[in-house]
């Protein structure tokens, strides 16, 4: 149930960037290596968004595939599930190049046209 904490952190992040304007869309990049359950995150987001600038906003999750890199042979490969050994040289010193993201990519806010132009 850490999705509740993550949802709260998303709302807090968005509030810092929305300038008080109502938010319509929140785009979040979630790496495959994070244990985030999309349905649960959406449910929690709807709950914690109430009475914030995110109330009624749509949460769009962009799931980022996991890409690993072998330190020994420098091979890079995409992975959906373990094992995490290098498929080329069976090396065990591997690091994630992508797949550990958990970031608010962008938001869409509703702005008064006159204010926006000034």
């Amino acid at each position: 149930m850490h999705e509740l904490s993550i949802a709260s952190a998303i709302v807090a992040t968005v509030e810092r960037h929305a300038g008080g304007s109502p938010v319509r869309v929140v785009r979040v990049r979630v790496g495959r290596l994070r244990q985030v359950v999309p349905d649960s995150l959406e449910f929690c987001f709807g709950m914690v968004a109430r009475e914030s600038v995110c109330e009624g906003a749509r949460l769009e999750l962009d799931v980022v595939p996991a890409v690993l890199r072998c330190a020994a042979c420098e091979h890079e490969w995409e992975i959906a599930e373990p094992p995490f050994w290098c498929p080329e040289c069976a090396g065990s010193e591997v690091a994630a190049v992508r797949g550990e993201e958990l970031e608010v990519e962008s938001i869409e806010i509703e702005e008064d046209a006159c204010i926006a132009r000034t």
């Binding site: 149930m1 850490h2 509740l4 904490s5 993550i6 952190a9 998303i10 807090a12 992040t13 968005v14 810092r16 960037h17 929305a18 304007s21 319509r24 979040v28 290596l33 994070r34 244990q35 599930e81 373990p82 094992p83 995490f84 050994w85 090396g91 065990s92 010193e93 591997v94 958990l102 970031e103 608010v104 990519e105 962008s106 938001i107 869409e108 806010i109 509703e110 702005e111 008064d112 046209a113 926006a116």
Partner: protein, 226 residues
């Protein structure tokens, strides 16, 4: 009214990360090495601590106990005359399932950092959430037990990938269980290639010495040697 697209590109857990770095700076200033002890409820986190906290040669140890509610574990550690502080996650929304950097930060003033060399933070029993929240630790230890099934690393990869050491507890029960230790270790290595592990029984004392040596090594050097 019109819609404006705003680029954010900000880590969702940035606030937690900032507090974790502040905790880490406090620990480093006082030369205290911090170990985050994680694992599922009942894996034996408190028990493996009880086995070693009184006999770490040259290392003064303190413990931070994280639980949703109650101070049962803290009382067990306090009975060994080891300084211990309890954090309950209950006052927040329904009781958080993990410790975060802010909770640890609020507990830092109650810890006499100048009087210890090693702080062990026993996280809330949980195989998912604690891995997402750094608290300022130098190393992470995962406690698992042979009663939990050999497929656990495959089911909870994040947690097993986040640790520097996996303790495999309750090995005295192996003769009574349908648990394939080799298979478990294969799964562990598949999820976290090369990760160190210690097979341990808090009941018979097997492996306790290796676990103690590991803690002393980490406390002495402030980090894990590859």
């Amino acid at each position: 009214m019109h819609r404006t697209h705003v680029k954010v590109l900000e880590d969702v857990l940035d606030a937690n990360g900032t507090l974790a770095r502040a905790n880490r700076a406090d620990f480093d200033r006082e030369h205290v090495t911090v170990v985050n002890l994680m694992g599922s409820p009942g894996a034996g986190k408190t028990t493996v601590l009880e086995q070693v906290v009184r006999s770490l040669p040259g290392v003064r140890v303190g413990v931070l106990e994280g639980d949703v509610k109650g101070s049962f574990d803290a009382e067990r550690i306090a009975a060994l005359h080891v300084p211990v502080t309890q954090i309950n996650t209950d006052p927040s929304f329904g009781g958080e399932c993990h410790l975060d950097a802010n909770m640890v930060r609020s507990a830092v003033p109650s810890l006499a950092l100048g009087e210890i060399d090693l702080l062990v933070i026993e996280n809330v029993g949980n195989l998912v959430c604690p891995a997402e929240f750094q608290v300022g630790e130098h190393a992470r230890v995962m406690v698992t037990s042979v009663t939990e099934g050999e497929d656990k690393p495959l089911k909870y990869p994040l947690m097993f990938r986040a640790c520097e050491l996996a303790l495999v507890n309750k090995i005295d029960l192996l003769p009574h269980l349908d648990f394939d230790l080799e298979k478990y270790l294969y799964h562990l290595d598949a999820v976290h290639p090369g990760v160190a592990h210690i097979e341990l029984s808090a009941t018979t004392g097997a492996g306790v010495e290796a676990w103690r040596d590991w803690l002393v090594e980490v406390a002495t050097h402030g980090h894990v040697h590859a």
